[in-house]
Amino acid sequence: MSATAKRRAAAQPAGASTLEVLVAAALLAVFSTLAHSFARSCFRSAAALQARADAAESAYLALSLLVGELRQAGYSASGNLIGAIASAEDSRLRFAADFDGDGDTDDANENVSYGSDAARGTLTRASGSGSPQPVIDHVPPTGLRFAYFDARGQQLFPGPDGLDAQQRSAVRRIDVRIEVEEPNPDPALRAPIKAAAATSVTLRNAGLP
């Protein structure tokens, strides 16, 4: 081999040995495993946060809808107030208003009930005699609760059939609590992600002359 050929051979890369490739592959595997674990943890945390936000948003939106309708129960455009509360139980409430003043509560959204469907895990709303429609999902069996109070702030406790007529006419304020339990996106964790929204509704039309 001439001197020039030797110099040229020395200048050319000789490649990596098997051991070097194996070490590099092992390091890459370790690094990839760490990166995957980290990424998975990040994604699960993000998913958990998203689920928590979804649960809170669902509870809040359902509460807003319910409260907005409940606040005006008893209204009548005719000026003759009607009975605000048609039936009142711990987890179910039906109330009425006469928005067009025609003297009945048969029109759309004039006779509304809220409850929960334990089998399907939904909070439901029904208008008139229509079937209950789901409003939000992932509501546990005790996820919708009502508490009733009279003008003096004394709580009225429903019996097996709910509040009686005298109690219903005395209701001035209703506390509402909605709970939502979203499935945990982390399969390793069984505990659902919970959120609750609660408020107190003063019936604006109750107690008016």
């Binding site: 110099r7 490649g15 948003e57 809040y60 907005g68 005006q72 209204y75 000026g79 107030l81 008016l208």
Partner: protein
């Protein structure tokens, strides 16, 4: 850079030279980072991977922010609309007729402001940066719709309304009603001001009438009511009626000047000159109510009685005795001396001056007595627009 001779010799590659300077005779090629353009490629690849993730995060955050802003704006608008509605309902005074209610602030039908709220604009403090609008529209005879709309962030709007009904019975908010600034004072003699529903024959402390109690004292503004509540706290046992004791509250405003003008101009009125009043006498009787208008100050020194409506255009001072069924109105105050003995079944309204109850006095709300007075003189007493419903336009 080393110059290459011609013919070309083997010029060492600079990367290889640097690798050699590192002291290794490595068989690995020179670092890729030294390859021209590789850093840019790596950065572009990293950006291509990271940008969608970053963009997604920004979009998520932005949509959440917009949702939160909309919810907040909606809540703010609703609260402002409710505040405006409450203010407007309190601003509607007791009225004698509703013929000009729909004519707007100028009181003339057929003008541009028809349908606008006729009793002023919503104070800025209630609506802050939001825009609040009020309207008052008739629904049917004796029934009105007062509506408040608040508009705010990004066109968010909330509207609430109240149904107001023209009351068929004359307005009587309390046993004693006083204009703003009138400060009631009680002495040490036995005094009872009671908003409970009395009948004309009921003695003080034993009401047998029906219906909800009224306030003992009422004022058209919250400040006067609060000041009176504090001042009358030591006398709480003698001031009974609606709410907590002492029973003092805020009520719909009564235009006492308009009432006085109506009473004085009424053809049924019996006029008296205050300075010429005898020591004793009567202003009608329970079976014979009288619309008595006393010009100037009136000083009742002896024994007086009456029924109906008694209007004193100056100050009513009582040093003797007065038994009255109906409404007593004093334009410049009421002063009871310590020796006075006064019984009013009905109401006592004071437009200004003092309200000194230093004698033995009983001012007792009596809806039946007010009803009789209104029946005898139907054009004199105002009526209120009562709330008959509330709703939010969803």
């Amino acid at each position: 850079m080393q110059d290459c001779p011609d013919p070309p010799c083997e010029c060492p590659d600079p990367a290889r030279q640097r690798a050699g300077r590192a002291g290794s005779s490595s068989r690995f090629p020179a670092p890729l980072a030294d390859a021209p353009g590789f850093a840019l490629l790596a950065v572009l690849l990293a950006l291509a991977l990271l940008l969608p993730l970053g963009g997604l995060a920004v979009l998520e955050a932005r949509s959440a922010l917009v949702i939160a802003q909309n919810l907040r704006a909606r809540a703010e608008a609703r609260v402002a609309a409710e505040a405006a509605l409450e203010w407007a309902a309190a601003a509607v005074p007791a009225l004698w007729d509703t013929s000009t209610l729909a004519a707007g602030p100028d009181g003339s039908s057929g003008t541009a402001d028809d349908g606008a709220f006729p009793f002023g604009a919503v104070p800025d403090a209630l609506c802050q940066t939001l825009s609040c609008e009020l309207s008052l529209a008739p629904l049917k005879p004796a029934l009105w719709r007062l509506r408040a709309t608040a508009r705010g962030f990004r066109g968010t709007a909330a509207t609430v309304e109240r149904i107001l009904a023209w009351s068929t019975v004359p307005y009587s908010p309390a046993a004693a009603y006083a204009a703003p600034g009138v400060a009631p004072r009680l002495g040490t003699d036995p005094v009872l001001v009671d908003g409970s529903p009395y009948r004309p024959v009921d003695p003080p402390g034993l009401p047998t009438g029906t219906g909800p109690p009224d306030f003992a004292f009422a004022f058209p503004d919250a400040r006067s009511a609060e000041e009176a509540r504090s001042a009358l706290a030591p006398h709480r046992d003698h001031i009974a009626g609606r709410g907590e004791s002492p029973s003092v509250g805020q009520a719909t405003r009564i235009d006492l000047a308009a009432l006085a003008a109506r009473a004085a101009g009424n053809g049924q009125a019996t006029s008296y000159e205050g300075s010429l009043l005898p020591d004793s006498g009567e202003f009608g009787a329970p079976g014979r109510p009288e619309l008595a208008v006393v010009e100037g100050n009136a000083v009742l020194r002896g024994s007086w009685s009456g029924a109906g409506i008694l209007l004193v255009r100056g100050q009513l001072e009582i040093t003797g005795e007065l038994r009255y069924e109906g409404l007593v109105v004093a334009e410049r105050g009421v002063a009871l001396d310590s020796g006075a003995r006064v019984s009013v079944h009905g109401a006592l309204w004071v437009a200004g001056g003092v309200l000194d109850l230093f004698g033995t006095a009983a001012v007792l709300a009596c809806p039946e007595c007010m009803g009789r007075a209104s029946e005898a003189f139907p054009e004199i007493l105002p009526h209120a627009l009562e709330p008959r419903g509330w709703r939010e336009i969803l």
